[in-house]
């Protein structure tokens, strides 16, 4: 058990200084303002600059191939967060690139990987379908053999960053008659292929995502990732990484759970609220001396610190749930001016708590809803068994 400050050797200290300086230079107020306006969580200039400087490749590669050490990666993640870098799509791109490296053909790897690691290509996810919800294995998007290639028809929801990406990691159904997990095939589909349409969707936290449509999209077989009807294995591997259910190191240098970035944003908001209620008004009164304020703030801090301590799939739920539970109290503490979003005249904490309240909703949805993770905890940690669902067939049979 160890929560001490990491003592840095000179080269690591130098690395930390360098990354902090590079990001301070790149992530300007203008970048932040544009990010807020577009909700893209992506800035091409920043992304290309970090790619050109070799950081993306080092983040992606194992140490033996010149990648970050565990300590450098931790420094990197913290500095990215500190600068509020528009960032959430790089981990997605990196994850897809890992799947391509693992399951793709040599030809596909050559086409995609070097350019992606330079920042020039971005990759997005095509899992969820408009009617599919969180069960990515219920897939209606079809891929049908067409000579040497494939023809794809269907639609995908939440293909975030497709407008800035070059490929979509698309799960398709190639055998509608087979059992669910034996019917899937994965592709890396070029987004400039004829028949691909990207339609923008804005979410309540201000983010932009997309729905993408695929109409008679022709792709060569080299864009297939993994075996035909073997897409579940590819997906499983990628989902394990996304869900944060992979093994951790023993040095306390890894993120404790996925989406710790989000609860750190809430931690910043909480600290701002605490600073706010510590201010004296014209009459010399501090709001923290009002017990109705201090009780709610203290309880919120307690719940947040618990979520910040929560590991793996437990943390995944605790983070989103705690944001949802605590953000309303933070807003109440600030009063009516907490209604005002960032940049508005008189916004209580410059819209910090207001943003966390809106962010909390999608945080409990994307990357798998909280119910998916509660199922995982119930099955994997508690051994409660697979959920029983009243299927329409069974109901009919019983009648």
């Amino acid at each position: 058990m160890d929560f001490s400050e990491v003592v840095l050797a000179e080269d690591d200290r130098q690395f930390q200084r360098e990354v902090r300086a590079v990001l301070a230079d790149l992530v300007t107020d203008e970048v932040i303002r544009r990010d807020r306006e577009t909700g893209e969580n992506f800035d091409e200039g920043v992304h290309l600059a970090l790619g050109a400087a070799g950081y993306l490749a080092r983040d992606w590669k194992p140490v033996a191939e010149g990648g970050f050490t565990a300590l450098q990666r931790r420094i990197w993640e913290l500095e990215i967060g500190r600068a509020h870098t528009p960032w959430f799509h790089w981990p997605t791109t990196a994850m897809v690139a890992h799947s391509v490296a693992r399951f793709g053909s040599a030809e596909l790897k050559d086409e995609v990987l070097p350019t992606t690691l330079r920042g020039e290509y971005r990759l997005c996810l095509g899992y969820t379908e408009p009617e599919g919800g969180s069960d990515v294995a219920t897939c209606k998007t079809r891929a049908v053999r067409d000579g040497e290639g494939w023809i794809i028809n269907g639609a995908k929801m939440f293909t975030s960053n497709a407008q800035n990406a070059h490929y979509v990691f698309l799960i398709t159904n190639t055998d509608p008659d087979a059992a669910k997990h034996k019917s899937l095939t994965m592709f890396l589909v070029p987004l400039d292929a004829p028949g691909v349409e990207v339609q923008s969707i804005r979410t309540v936290d201000g983010d932009r995502t997309n729905i993408t449509y695929y109409s008679d999209v022709r792709v060569a077989d080299r864009y297939r990732v993994g075996e035909v009807n073997g897409g579940w294995a590819v997906l499983r591997d990628a989902l394990n990484a996304e869900h944060g259910t992979v093994d951790r190191d023993g040095e306390g240098l890894q993120k404790l759970a996925t989406m710790t970035e989000h609860i750190l944003l809430m931690a910043e908001a909480v600290d701002h609220v605490a600073a706010k209620v510590a201010e004296r008004d014209a009459g010399g009164t501090r709001r923290v001396d009002d017990a109705s304020v201090s009780y709610r703030l203290g309880r919120g801090v307690a719940r947040m610190e618990a979520a910040l301590s929560s590991p793996g799939m437990y943390g995944r739920v605790a983070i989103a749930q705690t944001m949802r539970d605590v953000a309303p109290d933070l807003m109440d503490i600030l009063g009516t001016a907490a209604c005002l979003p960032v940049g508005t005249d008189g916004a209580a904490d410059d819209g910090g708590a207001e943003y966390i309240f809106r962010l909390a909703a999608p945080t409990g949805v994307y990357g798998g809803t909280l119910e998916v993770f509660r199922n995982m905890i119930a099955q994997q940690a508690l051994g409660l068994g697979k959920p029983s669902y009243a299927s329409p067939e069974r109901t009919t049979a019983r009648r």
């Binding site: 001490s4 306390g252 209620v277 510590a278 009780y295 203290g298 610190e305 508690l382």
Partner: protein, 348 residues
């Protein structure tokens, strides 16, 4: 504070930690089954269990070597507290070690103090808000000494005959203690340092109480999980119904979150006490709120069998409520958190 500071987040236990944990778990599963817990309910204390526990070194470990103890860390103590909670052990170990550690901080131990190190004599800590007049003390009915605050003094109250136990939901050896009725009153220290030492004792109590509640909740969860897996409705185990499995998953999250928070709080209190002074209260506020809620759900999952007075579930339920409340309204700790964080951020 800098939320992006480069600190390790290493919650792993060493082999020594794991050995300590399994030694106490085994000891308690042998010597403190639910029958022992039930048998002690009328008194709230099992003297035989206490003597065995002390013989194992449970009290001496908690004191620094300079005070004749074995110098365990607070992390070690959270591991023991968690096991005591898991077993619902009817012993006032948390109160006793926090009180004795406070005595050792305030000055050299006298003969009584030395007897406390080995557990031959019992000390209680007044964990209440420090108001005048009679107050309820969690282990007041069985202790020789009650350590409390009085103005800017930390005092030890001696009772030749301990006050009479009152029935209580935590099944504790709880008693009304009136400082004016003490047979003797010894000032252990006064002024800012003594009061700061007392506050540290309260922080230690909060962390260890939180850890005990984690163990308690995990045991209650295990019982409910086993029940749900073997109970059928309409041909399926109720554990496969999400109305059952998701609340149980939420309790597993509470256990993981509360356990790690208590350990992190203990680490900071032990190693860098000025750095995160709000964490002991945070662990306590979180578990004091979640434990009764979780124990209610684990009881509920077992339906009519859970609420029967004989059910283990109901034994966990009442203690989940009563143990935390022995420390007074958790809102006081929440308010303390707010003031500590506001002070830090207001000065930032």
């Amino acid at each position: 504070m800098d939320r992006y500071e480069l600190r390790r987040q290493d919650y792993s236990l060493t082999d020594d930690h794991a050995d300590l944990q399994s030694a106490y778990r085994q000891f308690l599963s042998t010597h403190c089954p639910i029958d022992t817990v039930r048998a002690a309910e009328a008194v709230g204390f099992d003297n035989g269990l206490w003597e065995r526990l002390c013989a194992m070194g449970a009290t001496t470990m908690a004191l620094p070597e300079a005070a004749g103890g074995d110098g365990a860390t607070l992390i070690d103590l959270t591991l023991v507290a968690e096991e005591l909670g898991r077993a619902l052990a009817p012993v006032p170990w948390i109160d006793h070690v926090c009180a004795t550690r406070l005595l050792a901080r305030l000055g050299p131990l006298d003969a009584d103090g030395k007897a406390m190190v080995t557990g031959a004599r019992l000390a209680a800590l007044d964990t209440g808000p420090g108001r005048a007049g009679p107050r309820l003390i969690g282990s007041g009915a069985i202790t020789d000494h009650v350590i409390t605050r009085d103005g800017d003094e930390v005092v030890s109250l001696r009772f030749t005959t301990p006050p009479t136990r009152v029935d209580n939901i935590g099944r504790l050896p709880m008693a009304w203690v009136d400082p004016d009725c003490a047979d003797s009153r010894t000032v252990l220290g006064s002024g800012a340092d003594a009061l700061a030492g007392y506050e540290t004792a309260l922080d230690e109590w909060r962390v260890l109480c939180a850890a005990a509640l984690v163990g308690l909740v995990e045991a209650a969860l295990t019982i409910a999980v086993e029940f749900a897996k073997s109970r059928y409705t309409l041909g399926v185990p109720i554990s496969t119904l999400q109305a059952i499995s998701h609340p149980l998953a939420n309790i597993a999250i509470t256990v993981q979150s509360g356990r790690n928070l208590a350990r992190r709080a203990a680490w900071f209190l032990n190693n860098e006490p000025a750095e995160r002074p709000e964490l002991p209260s945070a662990a306590f506020v979180f578990m004091a709120e979640e434990a009764p809620r979780a124990a209610t759900m684990t009881t509920h999952v077992q339906g009519g069998l859970g609420v029967s007075a004989e059910a283990a579930a109901s034994a966990y339920l009442v203690r989940a409520r009563g143990w935390a409340l022995a420390g007074g309204d958790p809102a006081h700790a929440a308010v303390r958190i707010a003031h500590l964080v506001a002070q830090r951020e207001g000065n930032a």
